[in-house]
Every structure is written in structure tokens, then in C-alpha cells.
Amino acid sequence: MLRRYVAPGLLQLLFLAACAGGGSHSGDPSPPPPPPPPPGQVIAGPGPNVATLTVNAGPAKTVNTAFVSVTVCQPGSATTCQTIDGIEVDTGSFGLRIIASVLSPALASALPQQQVGSVPVVECAQFADGYGWGPVKNADVTISSEKASNIPIQVIADPAFTNPVPTDCSSSGPQENTVAAFGANGILGVGPFAEDCGSGCVTAALAGTYYLCPTNGSACTNTTEPLNLQVSNPVVSFTASGDTNGVIVELPSVPASGADTLTGALVFGIGTQSNNGLGSATVLTTDTNSGLLNVNFNGTSYPMSYLDSGSNADYFTDSALSVCATGTAGAGFYCTAATLTATLHGVNNAALTANFSIANASTMFTTAPNGTAFAQLGGPIPIAAQTFDFGLPYHYGRNVFTAIEGHNTPGGMGPYIAY
């Protein structure tokens, strides 16, 4: 099977229709040529608001995970810095989190610790499959030429913090305190919200969120956290460029059998530069509190649905598809090939039809043992979750826009997704 290796950098795929040629009968007016179809996917070339986005095995040998490099500096310093690759791009979370073991000791000790009085602030970042526990520190975060100055980030599993992990954090799952457990060197949460917790944490010390952890290692206590101190989506702080209202994930299509590596672009801003306009994309607004929208599939509504670059497959409910058995190569993913259709509905009543294919995961993984980008990888989710998760596979071959709450764009106010 032919493998396409996509060169990094300029990837512009423009499909222009040939004008209708040709003759006309004498006496008949020539019909005007049909308009050209809209251009196919255009992936941004290098630029100040463009970061190279790579799908490969990454630091933890994962599939369908897209990575960027991020430069983290001591606030105000141009020299106490570190450029870290293998940072997962995640439109399903909000904020930058880095595994402590990845940071150089010099940088780790130079990042100012967020404190209340003299008591450090430490955070629990919950995921469905575990949690990240670690202090909130401030940093300058630079991605391509975009810079977020002095923003709160989370350093996961910082060895300087020996307090017992509070049970309302640790009991959501296992601690993801290593690169291997976490699946990446860190995660860049660029989803549709500006802060990771939001207004709920401002007035209430919610379990499983922010804590005050004494330096003597004694028990931590739950705390409230003002919005401007919460771990934040770096994009909203790219104030010098004004590319603060959202991101575009741009990844080319892949062959059905998968690709060993894939290169695209993470573009900052929507309609703020010449390379980030909405073009012909359709805007689907989401619920303003949850960032979720409705998907109809097989006659059922799934109101808690989303597009998510941080999901390694398309996860949805389909009892007609079998799941690969434990112990097989594709264990946990769908094992039945199918061509399927769903419709996505924005709160604004705009709709998009999604045509997608699922293939046998065990066959895919066995046939392409070095593959990392699989467009037809699907997995199950119970109907009770009311969720259709269009993960990274659905991002291949289309530019997906995520607009941030409270920020205006030419397509309207975020939060929304568009493609």
C-alpha cells in the first residue's frame, strides 16, 4: 500500500475546477461556466501564528495523538527557557500542563509558585482515566511566535510536593504522574473555555479542583480560585498578536490503512490573520457552560457531544458493531467495518452531516504496526453517556475551528466549533 509522507512546511492543496470548455451551437447562447467548487482543504504554511502539528508515536507510543512544541520560560526571561516537544494538543481541555520530570531542574525552580499568603496552590486535573496532581506555577509560554506572558500552568507530579494527594482527587482514577502514564510530555488544552474550572471554582471550594498545600507536607485543603489565577488556555493571552479567540486544527487526510506520521498545523486565531479565516466552514455553537452540542445518530439524540482532538478515536454508541476482545491487538476499539452517517446540530440550529468510516481495529494495528494516524479507528461509549465524541480521526482531512467563550470572531461569539 502506498504510504504518503507529507513534507513539513508548505502544504497547500488547492483544487480548482477546470472551466467548462467548449463549443456552443450556433444560435444558442453559451451557458456560463459552472462556478468552481470551493477549494479543498488548505493547510497553513509556516507563520507567526502557526505551529507545526505532528501525529506520530510521541514520547509514550500512542496512536491518534497530535503534538506541538512549546517553549516555557521563567516569566520575563529570554534565557531561562526550555523548548519541550511531545505536548499533546487537546481541544477537550483548557490550560497547559507539563509532567515535572520533563522540566530541567533550572527551569522548574525558576517558575514562580502561585501562593495564597505563603501557602502554595496545587491543583487536581481530572481525566476520565485518571488525574494529574501538581502545583500551579507561572510561566511565559511561547508557541511559534505567539507568546502568553506570565500565565498559570500546572506542573504535574512535582517532587517538591510531598503532601498526601487528597482523596477527592486521587479516587477519580490512577495518578498520571509519568510521561508513560500521561501519554505525552504534557498537554496543551486549547478547548472552548478560557480557564480550566470556570466560575464554579470562584465562589466554592469544589472537591477535585484547587487546593492549598502547606510546605511542611501536611494535608491539603480545598480552596476557591479566582478566574485570573486558574490554569488558563494560553490562547486567550496571545494579546500581542490578537490571535486570542480560538484555534484551528489542520491535519491532512490519511489512507484507510493509516500513516506512520502525519504533519499539519495548529493555527491560532479565527479571522484575525490572512491564514485563519472561516472560509466556507459552518459554525455550530455549543452550550455556553459545557461546550457540548447535539449529535443525531441512528435515530437517537446525543446532546452531550463534542469534537475533540484529545480523543484517540471516534467514540460513539452502535450496538451493531462488535468490540475487539481483550488480548487482541485492537482491544477496546470497534472490530467491525462500517460506513456511517451522523448529523451535528449547533445550539444555533446550524447542522452538518458527518460521513465517516470505521474499520476493524485489530486488522489496522496488525497491518500497520508502526502506524500512528488511523482515520477509521472507533470505540464504544454507553448510550447513557449521551455522547458522540468525534475524536482526532474525524479531524483528518478537514480544518476544525474551536472558538473560545466570550471572544468574538467573524462567525460569531465563542464557544463554537466549525468546519
Binding site: T167, G173, A204, A207, Y315, T387
Partner: protein, 159 residues
Amino acid sequence: MSISICSNVRAPLRALVVAGLALSACARAIAALGGDAASVEADRVSMKGQARGSAVSGFEVREIATSAGTLVREYLSPDGTVFAVSWRGPVIPDLRRILGAYYARYAQAVSAPHAGSHRHLTIEQPGLVVQSHGRMRAFFGRAWDPGLLPQNFSVDDIT
């Protein structure tokens, strides 16, 4: 865990927080998977939680709102055993409380490599099924013991 459950589940979050100090004395542990009806009934009275379901359908559901605004449901069989639990909300609740004696088995199973990435997790064992899904601000999960399910019960009813 600060489960301020001594109020009607419809109370706005602010009211739960304002009342938190006064109510801490009556906070009760959530009845865990495998727990019994007596503890749930005590919880329900003090929690003013909603009960839905009926004897005809063969099970009963109790709802509890945690201080973070997550809704926890406990499913009881006619003999008064909690055979399933579910949660839905911005924060995953304390699964040590919710899963009770099943937590150790869950913790061990989750530590093994799994397919789901940060958004999805499924544990399927003969005596325990756990499904955890979602992202920051929107989590959903459920757990049950297949051996405790009532007759003619569909797991699709665990919501």
C-alpha cells in the same frame, strides 16, 4: 469528601455553599456499590433526595447532588442492595465512596494499559463494570456489579 448532600437536589449551588457550614453536621456518606438500603434510606431522609422508580420496574433510584454540582445516582434492588451507581457533572466524585469495597479492584484494573486516552475508560470484569467518560466540566460514568442486577434489568437503565 465535601459532599454537602443535606439539601434538595434542586438547590442552586450557591445555596448549598452558603448552607455548607451549618449542614456539615448532617452530611452522610454516600451509600456505596454493594451497600444496603438502610444506609441509603437514612441518606435519603436527611438529603431530601429524589426517589424515582417503582416496585413494578423492580428497582429504585436515589439521587444526590455533591458540593461540586455532580449528580450521583444509586440504584437499589428490591432486596435493598445498591447494585449500580452513576455520576454526571463537572467533577468526578469520590469513587472510593461510590465504589466502596469495589474500589480496590477498580484501582488495580485502571492501572493496566487501556485503550481510552484521557476521555474514556472501560473496566469489564465478571464482578465489576466501570465506564468513565468525559472531559473537564462534563464527566459521566457508571458502575455496576453484574451479579447484583435485578431480574429483567437492562443496564441501559443505568443513567
